[in-house]
């Protein structure tokens, strides 16, 4: 199985390494592990993995820096592992180019879901435009700006459309407040999370069956939002 996806795990805790390696190998991935940042960077350069799973608390260097240095030469998906309450670090890593994050302790379904999303995104980096995205009863036609629930068309304002298009074309991935604000509004508005809150609420009211319990647009507290579409 030489063409099985190759995953590099950079984490200094042997138990976590063991658990992730066991599960991912079981699922048919090739797994390499590194316990230090420098070692991880070297292994990434040698092996060119398909995905990097990176712990933010490494003994020799800051995980955010590992992220930055990886991004200098590779676009391979990076999934951040970190403990709860370090939202600032997670956001910093995501804004420095990491693709997604998992909070320790995490369930294995979550890990596998992140890996799947990451692989899909690296496979279809381009050509997202013009796609039609299905999420439950929703159909989102990105090219034609048409959103339907069942057969009924949902009317959206221009900003709501831009917002939904950005979320849906990155479905499965976490998008930080800053990245959404920069893409949908303007880099100058990157601090105005209130825009996002208000428009997101409005959008949820139009799309979600129960806006208090959203199925499609999920809040990632302190980080951003994630759009869930059908696989």
């Amino acid at each position: 199985m030489t063409n099985a996806p190759h995953i590099l795990v950079i984490d200094d805790e042997p138990q976590i390494q063991r658990a992730i390696r066991t599960i991912l190998t079981e699922k048919g991935f090739r797994v390499t592990t590194a316990s230090r940042g420098e070692e991880g960077l070297t292994l990434a350069a040698v092996n060119e993995p398909d995905i990097v799973i990176l712990d933010l608390g490494l003994p020799d260097m800051d995980g955010v820096e590992v992220c930055t240095r990886l991004r200098e030469w590779t676009q391979c998906p990076i999934i951040i592992l970190s403990v709860r309450d370090s939202e600032r670090d997670k956001v910093a890593a995501l804004d420095k180019g990491a693709d997604d994050y998992l909070t320790k302790p995490f369930g294995i379904e979550e890990l596998l879901a992140r890996v799947r999303v990451a692989l899909r995104h690296s496979a279809s980096k381009q050509g997202m435009q013009g796609k039609v995205i299905h999420a439950g009863s929703l159909t989102i036609d990105l090219a034609w700006h048409i959103v339907r629930r069942g057969d009924e068309e949902i009317k959206l304002t221009a900003t709501e459309h831009k917002l939904l298009a950005y979320l849906a074309s990155n479905h499965g991935r976490v998008l930080t407040h800053q990245s959404i604000l920069t893409h949908v509004w303007d880099p100058a508005d990157a601090d105005h999370t209130e825009y996002l809150r208000v428009y997101m609420r409005q959008l949820r009211k139009k799309l979600e069956v129960d806006p208090e319990r959203p199925q499609y647009i999920l809040t990632e507290p302190g980080i951003g939002y994630r759009f869930i579409a059908d696989e």
């Binding site: 709860r84 309450d85 939202e87 600032r88 302790p105 369930g107 700006h145 009317k155 959206l156 304002t157 221009a158 900003t159 459309h161 999370t193 209130e194 825009y195 809150r197 208000v198 428009y199 609420r201 409005q202 129960d210 806006p211 208090e212 319990r213 809040t219 507290p221 302190g222």
Partner: protein, 488 residues
């Protein structure tokens, strides 16, 4: 001796002599006019009056000098032959000699009395100053305040150019008077502030002129020892309160440890029991107990994670590291997401929400505020009986937002209403309800970090948690957003 008097300069000294001579001249002139009518002996006696006066007023120096001058003028003007210092009659010689002796003796006596009176006054003033100093220092426990008072008193008494008090110790500091400019030269005088255990610092005094006298030195030394006593007392008081705090935190730590180990061990026991029975051959592969055990491991791991999270939050609040990342947020969104997540935990409880969409945006940390609602609602779920109503209500009150989370659970005795926000405080026995006893104190920590206030009150049918949060953030009211409403 009085320092102010002592500082009397040469000019005023000279003035005193001038006055003395003037007085003698005036009196001599008067006597001279009456020379024929007065007897020589009477004149000699009358001369003694101004002499006594001069000594009493200006001291021994002018007194003795005046006595000698009077002796000469008396001889010159009043003892025949006039206008010479020659004396012919033996009686006149006797008069002159007696006059000189009496004049000098009177001057001496009056002068000495004067000096001892001045010394007594100076001693009294010293005593008053010392009394003032010790009254000012009494009851002070702040080293800086002590240093300030001591420096001021030294400055008052010495009238020096500058005074500096340097205090050594764990937090050394110096207090200077005047604060603006210090002389660059070495101080004229340095007194150590010393106690039995060693030096606590020193007083430095700059005063070039007049030179510091020994009696001043003695007084300043007394000041220094008074200061030393006050400093020593302050340090002992500090050490005592530190010891008390340590004792308190020790007691708290053992309370934490016992509560925490109990709480952590409960889920661990479940996990250990479930995982070991799955590993052994006790549970067959197709047993219905398998998914049950696996679910227990999963749930208890989450529970354990929550407990550790609470402990971390608490230590962050305690160390002041809990800094809210405030942003304008929609309160109904936060409440909605928390309640949606807690639906399955609420079980048979009925959740009622009255958090209108029309509320302004609130400047809060989204994650922390979620935690406040989670803790308050789960506390209500824990203590209120099933099938009762848990209500969440929010409304604007002036420039704040007021939130109420009320339940129909048991009331809290009035005296415990404040204490339920203390860590590890529990009204019921610890083993009857699960949790770390940290939930409410975390809420308090978060709300206070948002400059808000949190309290509990008994309602006719239960208990209500209240908190208020300011709506003004960085001087700005909640923003009104321009929305595009036109659909494509």
């Amino acid at each position: 001796m009085n320092f102010a008097m002592r500082s009397s300069s040469f000019i005023s000294r000279f003035g005193q002599y001038l006055f003395a001579f003037g007085l003698i001249a005036v009196i001599t002139a008067t006597f001279f006019a009456l020379r024929d009518a007065l007897d020589t002996t009477l004149i000699a006696l009358l001369y003694l009056i101004p002499l006594g006066l001069i000594t009493a007023l200006w001291g021994l120096g002018p007194g003795i000098t005046s006595a000698l001058i009077t002796f000469l003028t008396f001889n010159y003007f009043f003892i025949p032959p006039y206008y010479t210092f020659a004396v012919h009659r033996p009686t006149d010689v006797v008069i002159l000699v007696i006059f000189l002796i009496v004049a000098i003796v009177i001057s001496q006596l009056v002068g000495r009395m004067q000096v001892s009176l001045a010394a007594a006054t100076a001693r009294e003033r010293e005593a008053t100053q010392l009394y003032e100093l010790s009254t000012a220092l009494a009851g002070l426990h702040d080293e800086r305040a002590i240093a300030e008072i001591l420096a001021k008193q030294v400055q008052d008494v010495s009238q020096g150019e500058a005074v500096e008090l340097s205090i050594t110790g764990t937090q050394p500091f110096a207090f200077r008077l005047p604060e603006s400019i210090m002389p660059t030269r070495l101080p004229e005088w340095v007194v150590p502030i010393q106690v039995a255990r060693g030096a606590l610092g020193e007083i430095r005094l700059w005063r070039a002129a007049p030179a510091i006298t020994s009696s001043e030195k003695r007084l300043l030394q007394t000041f220094a020892s008074q200061g030393a006593l006050a400093l020593e007392r302050a340090r002992l008081a500090q050490a005592e309160s530190r010891a008390r705090v340590l004792e308190e935190s020790d007691r708290l730590k053992s309370a934490i440890l016992s509560s925490v180990s109990h709480e952590l061990r409960t889920p661990l026991s479940t996990i250990k029991a479930a995982s070991s029975s799955l590993r052994s051959n006790e549970v067959s592969w197709d047993s219905a107990a398998r998914p049950e055990l696996i679910a227990a491991i999963d749930d208890e791991a989450d529970h354990l994670n929550m407990l550790v999270g609470n402990l971390l939050d608490m230590s962050r609040i305690e160390s002041g590291a809990l800094k809210p990342k405030r942003e304008w947020n929609i309160l109904p969104e936060i409440v909605g997401s928390v309640l949606a997540r807690m639906k399955h935990l609420a079980g048979e409880h009925q959740l009622e929400v009255d958090v209108p969409e029309s509320l302004p945006l609130v400047p809060v940390d989204y994650v922390q505020m979620e935690q406040v609602f989670t803790n308050l609602v789960s506390n209500s779920v824990k203590y209120a009986p099933e099938k009762t109503v848990i209500r969440v209500r929010a409304f604007v009150e002036g420039e704040s937002i007021h939130v109420l989370v009320s339940n129909q659970g048991p009331q809290v005795p009035q005296e415990h209403l404040e204490r339920i926000f203390d860590k590890f405080f529990r009204i019921t026995a610890a083993d009857r309800v699960t949790g770390t006893g940290l939930g409410l104190s975390i809420c308090k920590g978060i709300i206070e970090a948002h400059s808000g206030r949190i309290w509990a009150e008994n309602m006719p049918d239960g208990l209500a948690f209240n908190f208020t949060l300011p709506l003004i953030w960085e001087g700005a009211p909640p923003p009104q957003l321009p929305m595009d409403t036109e659909t494509e």
